[in-house]
């Protein structure tokens, strides 16, 4: 193989292995590629009354965050400014792992999500979006006559 002509370090190999294992476990990825490793990282949960979205988006100005809900699709977009100085002969960047630049993440919400009652809150770099479910879709106990 060509790969063996250019031996890579062990950590890079482990990284590749980890990605391969992850891909083989994600059996049915969404068409929007809700893949891991994007910015911001997202957790989604639900209660009978609401859908809760947690986006781990540190270092943003909430005023520049763009959260949209269009036909059951929630999108979170914005831009993260670079904190690092422009390198010159006096500065050296040793590690650069943090994301900077424009980002957009899109999440398909369940059908009963109500686009008219959405609340978003940004605290400690965590964006929490609560979308209420429609009344009609909530579970109801039916009285037996």
């Amino acid at each position: 193989m060509f790969g063996s002509l250019f031996p890579r370090d062990v950590l890079a190999e482990l990284d590749r292995l980890q990605r391969e294992v992850q891909t083989s476990f994600d059996l049915s990825p969404s068409i929007r590629g809700l893949g891991r490793g994007g910015f911001p990282a997202v957790n989604v949960g639900g209660t009978p009354q609401s859908v809760e979205v947690y986006a781990f988006a540190p270092g943003l100005d909430p005023a520049t965050l763009d959260v949209n809900l269009d036909r059951g699709v929630l999108s979170i977009a914005g831009e993260r400014k670079r904190d690092l100085p422009v390198p010159d002969e006096k500065t050296a960047i040793h590690i650069h792992e943090r994301f900077d630049g424009r980002f957009r993440r899109v999440i398909t919400l369940p059908e009963d999500a109500d686009p008219d009652s959405v609340a978003a809150q940004y605290r400690n770099g965590l964006l929490r979006i609560t979308v209420k479910r429609r009344q009609a879709a909530q579970p109801r106990r039916i009285e037996i006559q």
Binding site: V42, N43, E52, F56, L60, I93, Y122, G125, L126
Partner: protein, 126 residues
């Protein structure tokens, strides 16, 4: 400053717990090192920074407001703790570290000790 990869050897009991590794940026200039770490969800009260000898340890606990009865359906962040350890080199002054946390981004400034500041050395014609 180099990263201590032998976390498993630490005697600290908490070190053996699984934790997220926060992404960092490290930049050095002539007077010191600045470190940025992404720790979303960590409040000032839940942030724990400590320096022991030449080891800098950054830890933080994520606080999420989770409504009662929530069922997780998709998660990219599976742990609620951040931890990352760095080894400081000896020209850095651990007594003068300053830190600020804003919107989930930790900014640490570690100045170089006085004797390690750059000096221009005069070359005399002999």
């Amino acid at each position: 400053m180099s990263e201590a990869r032998n976390i498993a050897q630490s005697k600290d009991a908490r070190a053996s717990q699984a934790a997220l590794m926060p992404p960092v940026d490290v930049v050095e200039d002539s007077t010191g090192i600045t470190l940025f770490a992404d720790m979303p969800g960590v409040s000032k009260e839940k942030l724990d920074l400590h320096i022991e000898g030449d080891t800098l340890c950054i830890e933080g606990e994520v606080s999420l407001d989770i409504p009662e009865g929530m069922e997780p359906s998709y998660a990219e962040v599976n742990l609620s703790r951040y931890r990352r350890v760095f080894t400081l080199s000896k020209e850095l002054d651990p007594a003068k570290v300053s830190a600020e946390l804003s919107n989930g981004v930790l900014k640490l400034r570690i100045p170089k000790a006085e004797h390690a500041q750059p000096r221009r050395i005069e070359v005399r014609a002999g």
